[in-house]
Symmetry: D2
Subunit: 340 residues, 4 copies
């Protein structure tokens, strides 16, 4: 039974606690902490986990085998560094940290430690459809990949959502997915601004992002965050001899009122619920069997931050923004060469 301490007991923290308590096997939440200690105490009480006065205290406690960080983004760095210092595996919700410099510090700490402790919460890698897509790509049945067309559509976004969050919060999922899908790095970003939706208030919505990969693969991503009709995630890889796309996953098809219709999910919870479960179960299974985490690494968290920054720059300037990563530490393996 893996004993997990959860730092941050807000909405997402509570969801992960529920998951580890009543959905997944082999795990128990044994400690919680939050800047709001009242909330922490109340959430912890529900699963019989004591609330600690600080994340650091939680990390230090012997009842905690592994740490899950769901706190406010700017605090991620300190907790992840503390977990590394304690030699404890840490699952950090995205982003790994809020600046690329902070990500680099984590990278360096982990490299100094000498083996992987950090996993970042990019859950699309655990989605059945994306995995099936990657598998088809690997079989070579569509030939070498040349392009990928993506769309990331939200029915709506909250009032605090700002223009650049279309890149840093929304498209960042595609940034990680694309790097993983093609086992490659993004080398440059362009951002184009189509006609603005009148439903998005002051937002520049939609956006068209263009990613160049080292292999030459070109990826376009439409972000539409006020499109009303639902949450729609699409992806089609164009290969030399064919294409492969995410399937349509409507559980039911209705013929009614002149239409023959599939259902569109309402939001990301509905679409990616299972991916979160799988993400955590695989993390738990890897740790319980004594191994290192194999999911998105600190390197992946760092790369996402750098590409994301380049995207914001491209949006502001209207120009193509090159992406400059530091040399990849050996700890994180060799990129590329997998898909012919």
């Amino acid at each position: 039974m893996l004993q997990v301490g959860v730092i941050g007991t807000g909405m997402i923290g509570q969801d992960h606690i529920r998951r580890m308590s009543s959905v997944l096997a082999g795990v128990r939440v044994t400690a919680v902490a939050d800047v709001d200690t009242t909330v922490a105490a109340s959430v912890g009480a529900r699963v019989g986990a004591p609330a600690f006065e600080s994340g650091e205290a939680l990390i230090a406690d012997p009842s905690v085998d592994a740490v899950v960080v769901c706190s406010w983004g700017p605090t991620h760095e300190q907790y992840v560094l503390a977990a590394i210092a304690a030699g404890k595996p840490v699952f950090c919700e995205k982003p790994l940290a809020t600046t690329q410099e902070a990500c680099l510090r984590i990278l360096e700490a982990e490299v100094a430690y000498g083996s992987r402790l950090v996993q970042v919460g990019y859950m699309r890698r655990y989605d059945d459809s994306y995995r099936a897509l990657k598998k088809v790509l690997g079989t070579g049945q569509i030939g070498a990949p040349l392009m990928m067309h993506c769309a990331h559509r939200n029915a709506s976004v909250p009032g605090f959502y700002e223009k650049e969050m279309a890149i840093t919060d929304t498209a960042v999922h595609e940034i990680d997915m694309v790097r993983w899908m093609f086992d490659d790095e993004i080398t440059a970003v362009r951002v184009l601004t189509p006609r603005r939706s009148s439903l998005g208030g002051e937002l520049q919505d939609p956006l068209m992002l263009l990613f160049e990969l080292a292999s030459g693969v070109l990826v376009d991503v439409e972000t539409s965050v006020n499109i009303r009709y639902g949450y729609d995630i699409r992806g089609e890889i164009v290969g030399e001899e064919g294409t492969a796309s995410l399937g349509s996953l409507s559980p039911v098809h209705v013929r009614r009122s002149g239409l023959s219709a599939d259902q569109v999910p309402a939001d990301w919870r509905e679409r990616f619920l299972r991916a979160y479960d799988v993400e955590f179960q695989e993390w738990i299974d890897a740790l319980r069997s004594g191994g290192q985490p194999v999911g998105p690494s600190a390197w992946d968290g760092y790369a996402a931050a750098v590409v994301s920054d380049a995207g914001v720059h491209a949006l502001r300037t209207g120009e193509r923004a090159p992406v400059a990563l530091v040399e990849k530490p050996k700890l994180y393996g060799v990129t590329g060469g997998v898909v012919a």
Copy 2:
């Protein structure tokens, strides 16, 4: 933590043990038993569960809160009756028992006990698509249901598969699903025999089953058990104002070689894997919270047996076979009236 004893450690028993050990939350396998004690010992050892010399001994043991019966069909009755006698919840893989008389004996024992202990393993009720279908039906958006078209197709069946198993083993899933979907009883069965597939050896394959429900809804079921192309489960409810069907669930769509194609699952494991997980998790959750099981009941197991017998009779005679159920004990609630 629910402590479960598993009787029968063959293929399906092992799969449920794996499920309860490494997939689901809140459950532990604490005892196993099998007619082959060597297998039982070896399977039990993997999860640290002692092997008992008999199912009865397992049921009696205080380390067992609830029983899962996965043994050979003809032994189901004795274990289920023993569990009832011990006042312990019992999950019995389908069929509940191999004759309707045996099912009746279980029914009577449970009624005498006074509350529900028995759940039967009809897992389609836990499938996302069937649940979405039932939900659409419940909204009234397609109007009152009038017909349902089903297909149950297997790529192939093993050598020991006999003609009547198309009803007792294959279509029995539709029998349970239809009763649950419409909250209604099947009152008569017809079986028609189309042209015989040359790929099915001596089998009469495919079959066309026609079920009449008390409400008048007519259900047709094609069973094709050697259709080569994959495992395909389809269902479309025809309502007064529209229809609702199971969705196509291919995780990926490939355009290649002149085709634009979804994938078809290879077998029932691929198609219904998640339904088994959900089925058990909900059973575990119900028992842990101190409630009775709410899944398919002994009544459902009995009704499936009676309809199945009528189907076999209809196949042999070529005639319409009426279905005669005993009066439904109050323990199992009132059927019908839900869908207007």
Copy 3:
């Protein structure tokens, strides 16, 4: 330029006149006739065709190379026989005649004449989708056919529509299509009556028809004539190794309001408009090149009448009704043996 005389200038006659005047190549309407001579004169005037006082006079006129019969059903026999007597090709809208005896008289007259003059207006044989389906069947890629599932759904039907018209007017299209698709004869019919739609007034709607073919292929046809959501024609052939279905033909796909939807045609005009054009163009082309018509023959019209009668009998009695055809005259070729 083929010169055609049209008998019957009601709605369907006017539509065919429009078709031959402004859509198709190589044809001209040179004569019209109708029991309502005022209408005939007015319709004829639009295309410069004189109105004759009777169908017989029209048939006799040298300006008429070929005849199209669109008059009231009970008058079909007399005009078709008159055309045969005059040795002129005649295209007769369905039904060929209103009784099987009348169909037989036409058959005999044509056989006595010695070559084909008659074509009956079963236009599904000219639909792209049905043709593609037949072509797939012919390639053998799904193996020998064993079953076919059909649905014939209308949004609504006019007030004069009676119970038996679900067979004689609606399912008669499937009767012809199935005979053509499998190059086989229907040998028996069953009709089952599901729960009745409350939207169909006094009608018994829907119906479930079951056709047995000489080869053993079993065909089920759902007729739903008040289903509100649109006009939906579906067909899936179940073969030994796979299935082939009519495609979904929505020209546009809309994602909106939580749905990802294809459009359903409003009625048969929208769905089969092109099939009517192709049907007539091929008939015209065959006649212009000096050949005999190759579309649905008097035999096909006769067979449809007999099967239709058997269907009505089956509906009334609730029993399986065998279909008894006279021996097929050599003029109409040999049935069967095409699909292995």
Copy 4:
């Protein structure tokens, strides 16, 4: 009966002659001409049309009401100008002329003439799916359009196909379609070069084109001209509240070998055959009823040339290329404002 003279009796000319002789209503080919007079004579003989020694002679002949130009591109200008000079309607296959200067000269000649005589052969405007898409857009059900995603894929291209033809021959169809779909002008073009397909020899294939419209709508077009799997034309308009896409038009759906598959057309003939028929029939109908042609105008031919040139420039430089059109003559109406 419209009497048409056809200049250019190569493959496409022959196809249009076949169309006007045996498919369409109200038209007759009464004259042909070709630089290869032997071919012209032979092709003309098949339909009883005399071959003229020159296009100019054909245009001048009183047997010719209207002219169809299917000759080699560089000769289009002279024949179109000659037809305008003769005051005869002329249907010119794309391109209108091979330089924007030549297009301008045609524009000026037609403006001087004072009413529309010229139609250019952009047939996508006549395709059922594109028309349905434009209709959906017009209803406002997806809100104001913001983006459009297009793909134009060919299984293969002939050996003489050169890099820039991906714009001038392939994407030019999207250039015209987009201008028509949104009733708007393209104001700038970008061309990006993804990883090169190894199946395209020396070609830079695929390409990613980005068109900016005056309204701000952003259009992306993937051209892949060696993709092997078939001919695939896709388009999705992203509106404020939903999206609308071209439908999937497979006439038949096959389940076989683990796949559930639609068919992909082999080439543009199969995909757009009907659009050519409709294009010509509507042109013929407009002329026969004494009206002007309403299809793609000389202005559309000119605009396509200018955008195409900008695209080639963008491909060569890697930069965003602005599109500069002359002021639009009143003869061609007012652009824009239709879609809110």
